[in-house]
Every structure is written in structure tokens, then in C-alpha cells.
Subunit: 199 residues, 2 copies
């Protein structure tokens, strides 16, 4: 077994991309549509950094069908032979109808309820720094990282979670990263291989 | 002036997304097509971390027209009023026909030739660590970071550059991040605000 695999096995991190409930520009609660590249980019980042399962969370059954069609193309269709690496990444995706159902699946799989950690572009109560989050992950604590689509997670998700990671600070004050970028950066900060403190 | 702006002004980092010459799956040199989300996601990451200009490099004039149409929509069309934050991000984009033309523009603007630093999923000769790259950026040295589309930069670009950043190491051995993820992670490592060594 490689060092990388040993390290991966000691961790119990899953991620969820929430499409409902999230907020729109005006702060109202909405459900968002699934974006194809959110599936691909985030699955590729998840497998790179050793995330167990990438839950795509939406209550809409038409969206479940859409996700399944995309997954089928890459897992059993032409995509699977054309690009086996993509197949491996997308195999980490699981469709889920709600946050509650996601937590239940993880609790069943991992034998205990995961720590729920939200992410946000704004500082929330119960904030958690990267160093402390990384330490808990390295100790093997089950962690579910929650990411919001549209303009972010609905307030009730932030309020009911155990912690909220500190925002990715912007040097210019611009705080509108894509969720694909935010997931990539946060997984690197929490789970990336570091040969020194900056790599 | 905020601390963030002061920090930003001391830096002289530009990035270029290369669509030619890059390699395909078989290692042959090709030109790739521009992807809409490469413009958006990478522009948003660029402005977040204080990159000066995001050069989109392709020799194909039909691709220049396509990029310009997208930029116009967000800069002067409906998109500009609907989403001013996106307008601000996309304003950092400049279309360029080649790497040589890009280097010439930067040299003219910054008063000296930038250090050319490639990025790759494989270790190259002349490799540069993140700590050293970050140090040089903080000293104000002009740096042009080069990112490849398709299966990565053509060998002649890696060979002619000053340095190549070490790859983003994968814990699982999977080294197929999207270029959008790779840019985000690398900008965070080189230019992200750090309150401690892990944030």
C-alpha cells in the first residue's frame, strides 16, 4: 500500500453539494439546478484529495434523472472507455434527496454521525479555522463538508451545523469564487499533501 | 487604502491560460477550444487573489470573437447590470494570440520581462516549490503563471520557461484536476491570505 493510500484510509471526510435549501441574490430560499461541471470538477477534486463520497443533494426527481444520465455516460457509456480517469472520479458521486438523508447514509456507513461543517463566503457563528479542522480530519473524525450552490447555503443549514469553516479570505475584497473553486481550495487546505507549510 | 489593496499593489502576478500549443491524450500538439467556464471561474479566482491580468491565449480568430462576445455580454450587455461582480472579474481578462505576445505586453506594462513559471501535473525540470515562488511574488518580482488546457502545456513551453511549479500532489495518485481547480489551488497557495500556515 502506498503512503497516499494509507493516509487516505485514516480519514473519513465526505462532501455534499446542496441545491436546496440555498439562497438567491435577494436572500430568499430557493432550489437551484444541477450544473454539469459541478459534477465533474468537484468529483475530480474529491478523488484527488481522498474524499470518500461526494453527495449531490437535490429533492427534485427530474434533477436526479439528469445526474444519473450524465453518470451513466461516463460510467457505462462511451465516456467510460474514452476516459477511464473520469469514470473513477465520478464513481465517488452519490445522489441524495436531502441533507438529512445524507447524514443518515454517512452515519450508517461510518458507524457514527459526522461532524457537520458548513462553508460560506461570510463569517458565521461557530466558526472553525483550517488548522483545527485539518487536525480533526487527520485524527480520523468523520466530517461532512457542506457547500452551497447559487448564493450559498440557507441560514438554517449554517445554524444547525456543528461548525462553519472560516471564509477563503480575498486580498481584494472580492468574495465571489465559484463553488468549484471554493471546494478545490478548501480540500487542498484541509487534506492536501504538504511537504512544507506552503506546499 | 485597505491592507488587502496595499498587499495587492506590491505584487506583479499575471496568469495565462494556453489553448495552443497544448497536448492531447496521445501527447500530440494541438490547439484546444475556449471553454466558457474557464473564463468565468478563473477570472473570479484571479480577482480574488489579486492577479493583475488573466490572458486567454489562442491564435484562432474565431475563438477571439467568441471570447469577446462573452465578455461583451457581461461587461456592457444585460449581464453587466444583472451581476456587477461578474463584470469586475471579467475585466481582468485580455485576449492574446500567443505566449510571445503575452510576454511582450507584460514586459511593456510592468517595465521588465516576467519570470515564466509553468504548471504541470508531472514534475518537470527546473522545478520550483511553493514556498520559494510565494517569496519571490511577495518581493514584487513580475511573474507570469502559465496553465495549459487539454492534457497540458506542450513540452516546448515547459522547456523554455524559467521554472515549473511542483505538481499539486494527490493523496490517491489521481492527477487529473480540472484546470479551473488547479488555478484556484495554485493561486491560493501562492497568493492566498494566511492567518496561520494552514489558512
Amino acid at each position: 500500500m502506498s503512503d497516499g493510500q494509507q493516509q487516505e484510509m485514516g480519514r473519513a471526510v465526505d462532501i455534499a453539494l446542496i441545491h436546496y435549501p440555498v439562497i438567491n441574490k435577494g436572500g430568499e430560499t430557493i432550489g437551484s439546478a444541477v450544473t454539469n461541471l459541478d459534477l465533474h470538477d468537484i468529483a475530480r477534486a474529491a478523488i484527488t484529495f481522498g474524499v470518500g463520497t461526494y453527495y449531490v443533494v437535490t429533492p427534485y426527481t427530474d434533477q436526479h434523472s439528469l445526474i444519473q444520465e450524465i453518470l451513466d455516460h461516463w460510467q457505462t457509456g462511451h465516456g467510460a472507455t474514452y476516459n477511464p480517469a473520469r469514470k473513477a472520479a465520478l464513481e465517488r458521486i452519490r445522489i441524495s434527496e436531502s441533507l438529512e438523508a445524507t447524514v443518515a447514509m454517512i452515519t450508517e456507513q461510518r458507524g457514527r454521525r459526522p461532524l457537520l461543517v458548513t462553508t460560506s463566503a461570510r463569517v458565521q457563528e461557530n466558526s472553525l479555522g483550517y488548522r483545527e479542522a485539518r487536525r480533526r480530519i487527520e485524527e480520523g473524525e468523520p466530517v461532512l463538508l457542506l457547500f452551497g450552490t447559487a448564493h450559498g447555503l440557507a441560514p438554517e443549514i449554517n445554524e444547525s451545523a456543528d461548525y462553519s469553516l472560516l471564509p477563503i479570505e480575498s486580498i481584494t475584497g472580492y468574495n465571489h469564487l465559484s463553488v468549484r473553486s471554493a471546494v478545490s481550495i478548501i480540500l487542498d487546505r484541509l487534506m492536501g499533501v504538504r511537504r512544507d507549510e506552503l506546499q
